[in-house]
Subunit: 457 residues, 2 copies
């Protein structure tokens, strides 16, 4: 083990250079103009896995972006872990807010800046680097490893469900390890046991057949923006409760025990608020900030667009307006049921003077792991050894559709070991990864794989 750790310490620069090569590929999965970049990134990763020593490296095509798979199964009698990550990234707009171009990795103040640095290429490379350290020192891995890196996470993993079902045998494992979540805070190594689900919708309201002169027609026709504003303002009440009938019906309530546990976490609301740059925290009444963040469903407009948005003024009544609206779900809300309820509610509160169209983008169920499985203790100790700090169990407000799907299919524990920080701008300009967490993360994963190997299967 000492060999592995000292290899990791000596090769930090190499690990970083490898990651940077991957970060230079603009693998934006949502953008039709980046399809070939996404494919190039899959090829690049497959090559990397082969060079490292993984076997049966394969690229599985899907309807949109390929899945990269690799395995090394030469440790009979030891457990098999399935490691999941994604190599696709979010769009980069607003581009002018980036200090350096998003696909030219840049180190400033101990942080690596690039789109994908924390979400999720950097975290994928924590695992690849830990595995490489074993290959280069021991010539083998301490346990059996399967690696799955998908290219559609940022668009809701549309191909993954079928792939997991079809490849159930290929993916069979004793545990699933995912690194795509943030730590609670700097120097607070964290193991995540819950994720929220997602239901992503879009509303289009159209009135006239084209933009109208607001002088000539103002006062005579319905303005679609006013209709949309009315719809959006009827989705939540002043206490932050979502007004869609049936929305809370399947919500799994928070237990007293868990509420106590969450209340005791070393989370500083002041620090968290500073990360957001908001004036104050707010939201559904009756729940703490962490509870609202992790264990309560929410609804947010992700974007709104219609009419004139340039400098100065243009006197039109916009012909149409649209909004992206997404809901974060908790167990046991069903994204399909929620999408239908949303559509029904929006249609019900829409006036007959305009055309309202509700589109469903994608959805995923929330995930909640039983904390009593012993693998959580192994993970906790591994992180504590690497970071030299007490590790904590947390939940996460985001969604990783893979986790719930693989958990349902394999019925094996899924452990989320995250190395991002809440202020690292995943999905925003100037995304970054703390380099201490990157290097400690590699050590932590080396400990974790080593300790897990000692288990009987």
């Amino acid at each position: 083990m000492q060999q592995v750790l000292s290899y990791i310490q000596k090769h930090q620069n190499d690990f970083l250079n490898n990651l940077n090569e991957c970060l230079r590929i603009p693998s934006i999965s949502v953008s039709p103009s980046h399809v070939s970049d996404v494919a190039r990134c899959a090829d690049f990763l497959a090559q990397r896995l082969k060079e490292m020593g993984m076997k049966r490296v394969e690229i599985f095509p899907t309807k949109r972006h390929p899945i990269v798979y690799a395995e090394w199964l030469e440790a009979p009698g030891h457990p098999t872990v399935l490691v999941y990550g994604h190599y696709d990234v979010q769009p980069v707009d607003p581009l002018n807010e980036w200090v350096k171009p998003p696909f030219e990795p840049d180190i400033r103040g101990g942080r690596l800046y690039a789109r994908g640095s924390v979400d999720d290429k950097g975290q994928v490379y924590i695992h690849l680097s830990a595995l490489e350290a074993y290959f280069r020192t021991w010539g083998r891995l301490p346990l059996n490893v399967k690696v799955l890196i998908e290219g559609e996470e940022e668009i809701g993993s549309p191909s993954l469900k079928n792939f997991l079902k079809e490849q159930k045998n290929l993916l069979k494992a004793d545990e699933v390890i995912i690194s795509d979540t943030p730590m609670l805070d700097r120097e607070v190594p964290s193991i995540c046991y819950g994720l929220r689900g997602l239901c992503y919708m879009e509303i289009h309201v159209s009135g006239s057949s084209q933009d109208l002169h607001s002088g000539m027609w103002g006062g005579t026709v319905e303005n679609p923006v006013h209709v949309l504003a009315g719809i959006l303002s009827k989705l939540k009440d002043k206490n932050g409760r979502i007004l869609i009938p049936g929305f809370y019906k399947d919500v799994y309530p928070l237990s007293k025990t868990e509420r106590r546990m969450l209340a005791r976490l070393p989370a500083s609301e002041k620090k968290l608020l500073k990360v957001t740059g908001s004036l104050k925290f707010t939201g559904e009444k009756g729940f703490s900030t962490l509870e609202r963040m992790w264990a309560r469903p929410t609804l947010d407009v992700n974007g709104i667009f219609g009419g004139f948005s340039g400098e100065g003024s243009k006197t039109i009544i916009p012909a149409k307006v649209g909004a992206k609206v997404s809901m974060r779900l908790v167990p046991d809300q069903d994204p399909d049921k929620i999408a239908s309820a949303f559509k029904k509610h929006v249609e019900k509160i829409s006036p007959l003077t305009v055309n309202v169209k509700v589109i469903k983008h994608h959805g995923s169920r929330a995930f909640l792991e039983r904390l009593n499985h012993p693998i959580f203790e192994v993970a906790k100790r591994a992180l504590e050894k690497a970071f030299g700090k007490k590790a904590h169990f947390i939940r996460e407000g985001g969604s990783i559709p893979f986790v719930r799907t693989i958990s349902d299919i394999l019925k094996k524990p899924c452990v989320l070991l995250g190395f991002g920080l809440p202020d690292e701008n995943a999905h925003a300009p100037n995304e970054r990864l703390d380099l201490v967490n990157f290097f400690k993360g590699i050590e932590g994963m080396a400990y974790f794989y080593g300790d897990l190997a000692k288990w009987k299967v």
Copy 2:
């Protein structure tokens, strides 16, 4: 007179070619990147006025876009008219909805398509062509004419007020003629005696310091889009009444006589509705469509923008969102007072969880002429001779800041002789001008100038 009319009929093609040259100049006044095009258009018009025979052609610079002035004052004992128009045009987005490029004039189905064709270059050229016909046949004009063509109408004429005050003597006239309004309908020559005013505002709501991951933070911070939707939905009630305190205080009421007159106009609601492409007319309760369109104040969102608006999905809580909101005013509403009341109301209904900024763009007062001045009869007969149809007195929902300002300064009658049609997409893609109206308009103005010359001054 017959000479003049036959010249007009023989030179239709030349008039059209002259106009097309002007339409090819993209004089978009709101766009900082078109400043030199706007200046080029002013030079072009000055050249045209000189060639035609006008005297003292001058370009007056302003802080933004120049004013073109020309005069011919060699008809002592005859009245002096001041003719107003504007050579600046609206922006062209959405560009992809134009059948042909907006600055390449194109004739299809008897209509001339181009940005500025109806608003207002085409109408300016109706006057220039009528005057040219006099110069080319009589070698002089029948009365004294001053021409003022500004380049800032589409941005609210910010420089015009001071210019009119400073140049009060230069601009002195017995009547003011403006062609920048639509006819009530095809084959309904119309004389407009009222315009609405304008108060153009912008609201910015900002929450977090940058876009946040909606999974990580959803449920904890205020979403600026929800706040803005709430604000917008509190600006009007379900009966279309504007909820800004004091908004209706100075509204000049519609008289019974005028309501009867408006009700008798040959306006087809069905035809008007078809122009808009809307499902139905709607608006403030208790008023007819024409009353709401011309004589009642309104409030419309002209554009809204914030967060992700691309294809597919992006899971963010937008850091900021904005909306352009403008109000059409009627006599005797004061745009400055209305702007203050708007700002106060928006600030009052804004929560403390976000920063709300209200910006005033520009404003202008409404205009209402006394219909009993005899010049209206002269105008009516001139139009009836040219069009061979009964002419009508109408109001207009749009705003021409010049009219109210010059009316206040000169205290002389302002007559709005419009040759546009309501469905000609002023301010929208595929703006066009009916060629019959263009040519009849030239004849109508020739009659008008000839008849007006017979007056004693």
